[in-house]
């Protein structure tokens, strides 16, 4: 198959750009190179932000890092807070967390997954699925959804709100709170706060189940299309517990190949460098990680909902596991790799997180007051890994004798998906765009595939698009073939 990453002779080709990619968190841009017959020769998703967090955090005290690092991302700040604190648990020399501390961290994390998945599905992606990829631009947003499907929009807004409120109860505020500190958590959960969450959680479980139902309903309108749109056959990676069950908070790394066969399992995440390697390409600030033993060409992988539900052996709550079985059946025993399948998997995870949160709210430990672990000697180095809403998130630090950070490496969830996203948009481009007159709606197909991954491009923080997107297709003689406008 044609490799659309790099064109043979780009100077003869016409450039088309989608900038900025919209209804995603953060900023990206897509460039497409076409020939005189509108055949596509190159497609790239560029991440144009650069922050250098790993460098400027050096020299800061290690205990400051979990608070600072949240500012990588306002959509999933809790993920960075928890991953960094897990690394700092190790560096500060703490032993195992108390049951209450671990459960509060878990509840916080599950609240985060509920709010992030709800935001992604309802606020950002649902307009494409409900109205169609080529529907009117003015309507293709959450306001349009609210006008056409008021109940659905309200459920989405309130589900996100509930997740944000779980976060506020534990971390003090919805965005960039505190709460989680090396060794445990800094405040107990009051019985009144627990009770108010307990009173609302059943509704959230029901709405999450209904959201899975909605995705299935959409899928059934055109199963082949849903299964194959933006398909990229990738290896898959995620954290599982010792029994092989999905665990968002802690576990060993497991990877499977595109057919579901084992690559590695129960890898201690502190040794991630033994199994992963990162590449740099000159056209994107985002690195390209891959599984070391397989090499750059074959070793790229996907993370996040679509990988997680297929990497684990079970999701340990009843409603979500039943939905997971239905999902796997849709693949007829083979792993699913279509970009739109992410939405289905994501809503199953939202249901799972709501169920997990309910279990914790029923657990007496959650209002316990024993919050801090025992402390041993300081350690030089620590790695913290979790399954963030968008996938496996790695934080790795060293701190010197003065407690100042001397090394930092981050592999954010979206970075893990870099190659897989690029492959998906290349699949969409060659299947739906190549050789055709480009319209705004066709260009939106590319964005639909990117959105499906729920990329968090703001996990580094730049904007790019400043130009109106006006695409001119000009043939080899210089005659205007067609003109498309976006925005």
């Amino acid at each position: 198959m044609l490799n659309l990453e790099t064109a043979q002779s780009p100077q003869k080709l016409r450039r088309v750009a989608i900038e900025p990619v919209s209804r995603v968190e953060g900023h990206g841009k897509v460039t497409i190179l076409l020939d005189a017959e509108n055949r596509i020769h190159q497609v790239r998703l560029h991440i144009v932000e650069f922050r250098g967090f790993e460098v400027f955090i050096q020299g800061r005290p290690y205990w400051e890092v979990p608070i600072a690092v949240q500012r990588l991302c306002g959509i999933c700040p809790v993920s960075h807070l928890i991953a960094a604190t897990k690394a700092m648990d190790v560096i500060a020399g703490f032993g195992p967390l108390t049951p209450t501390a671990e459960k509060l961290r878990r509840l916080l994390h599950y609240g985060q997954i509920v709010q992030s998945h709800a935001l992604h599905f309802f606020h950002l992606s649902s307009p494409d699925l409900l109205f169609g990829f080529e529907s009117e631009v003015a309507k293709r947003n959450i306001i349009g959804v609210a006008a056409a499907f008021p109940d659905l929009a309200k459920q989405g807004v309130l589900t996100r709100k509930f997740g944000q409120e779980i976060i506020a109860h534990i971390a003090g505020k919805r965005i960039h709170g505190t709460g989680v500190i090396p060794g445990g958590v800094n405040k107990p959960l009051s019985v009144a706060d627990r009770d108010s969450m307990r009173a609302g959680i059943d509704q959230i479980v029901d709405w999450s189940k209904a959201a899975v139902g909605l995705v299935i309903q959409l899928h059934e309108t055109n199963p082949d299309f849903y299964r194959t749109f933006g398909e990229s056959r990738a290896n898959m990676m995620g954290l599982v517990d010792r029994r092989g069950a999905l665990d968002f908070y802690h576990g060993g790394l497991r990877a499977r190949d595109a057919d579901g066969g084992p690559i590695f399992d129960q890898i201690d995440y502190a040794t991630y460098r033994n199994v992963l390697q990162e590449d740099v390409k000159n056209w994107s600030y985002m690195k390209f990680p891959h599984i070391k033993t397989l090499g750059a060409d074959k070793g790229w992988y996907r993370v996040g909902p679509l990988a997680r539900v297929q990497v684990c052996d079970v999701m340990p709550t009843p409603l979500a596991e039943a939905e997971r079985r239905t999902f796997l059946n849709a693949g007829g025993g083979k792993p699913l790799h279509g970009a739109l399948m992410y939405h289905w998997a994501r809503m199953i995870e939202m249901l799972h997180s709501a169920e997990l949160a309910r279990e914790l709210l029923d657990d007496p430990d959650i209002v316990g007051t024993d919050l801090m672990a025992d402390k041993g000697p300081r350690r030089e180095e620590g790695v913290g890994v979790i399954e963030a809403p968008r996938g496996t998130l790695f934080h790795h630090y060293r701190a010197d004798d003065n407690d100042l950070v001397s090394y930092c490496n981050l592999i954010v969830s979206t970075t893990n998906n870099n190659q897989a996203m690029n492959e998906s948009i290349r699949a969409v481009a060659s299947r739906y765009l190549s050789g055709r007159e480009l319209t705004e709606g066709l260009l939106n197909h590319i964005e639909v595939a990117i959105r499906a991954y729920d990329p968090c491009l703001s996990c580094a923080t730049h904007a790019l698009g400043q130009m109106p997107l006006e695409v001119d297709l000009i043939d080899a003689d210089g005659t205007l073939v067609s003109r498309a406008r976006k925005g």
């Binding site: 790993e54 947003n141 130009m467």
Partner: protein, 186 residues
């Protein structure tokens, strides 16, 4: 016509938003007005914003700017927003003073790039340099060093209630005023 009794004949207030070198947290805090967004949309509509597919700012009433200015694209977007908006609001610590990303300002940007682009074993690889990548500035700049700013809402992020109060004041033509309880960094 009976319609005018229900819906005022006034045109909707047009709001544009953008995230420059920010973390999206200020946008999230805006969305944290929760179901009030459904009320807001009765009197307002969005122009260019990360939550719409409008990619190019057109004349609008209010522009909300999150994030500082760290590269040429940020400056370009910001200038375009300023040229189109009657009122431009810098929202959050990053827009007001560069915020956390400005922690890089004490370092040389070339050194930072060289350090980040190493592989996991510490081996130096090349620094991305494709023309598609916008020119990085030496520092992260506050929004008001690039364009005129009409209002600032402090906080990291400002709370949803602060944003809500501010927007209501602006839309209703009142002098925006935040109580002390709504005015804090964290």
């Amino acid at each position: 016509m009976s319609e005018s009794a229900e819906t005022p004949a006034l045109p909707k207030v047009r709001i544009a938003t953008t995230s420059l070198a920010g973390c999206f947290g200020c946008h999230m805090s805006f969305l944290d007005i929760d179901e009030r967004i459904l009320d807001l949309m009765k009197i307002a509509e969005f122009d260019r914003s990360p939550i719409t597919d409008i990619k190019h700012c057109s004349p609008c009433d209010i522009a909300l700017i999150e994030g500082g200015v760290c590269n040429a694209e940020n400056a370009h977007v910001l200038r375009e927003m300023r040229a189109n908006a009657k009122i431009l609001v810098a929202i959050g610590a990053c827009a007001i003073n560069g915020g956390l990303p400005a922690m890089r300002n004490r370092l040389d940007v070339g050194d930072i790039l060289n350090e980040v682009y190493r592989d996991l074993d510490g081996v130096q690889s090349h620094v991305p340099n494709d023309p598609e990548l916008p020119l990085l500035f030496d520092k992260v700049y506050p929004v008001n060093e690039v364009v005129r700013v009409d209002y600032f809402i402090p906080g990291c992020p400002p709370s949803a209630d602060a944003i809500w109060k501010y927007l209501n004041d602006l839309i209703l033509g009142r002098m925006p005023r935040l109580d002390h309880s709504l005015l804090h960094y964290d």
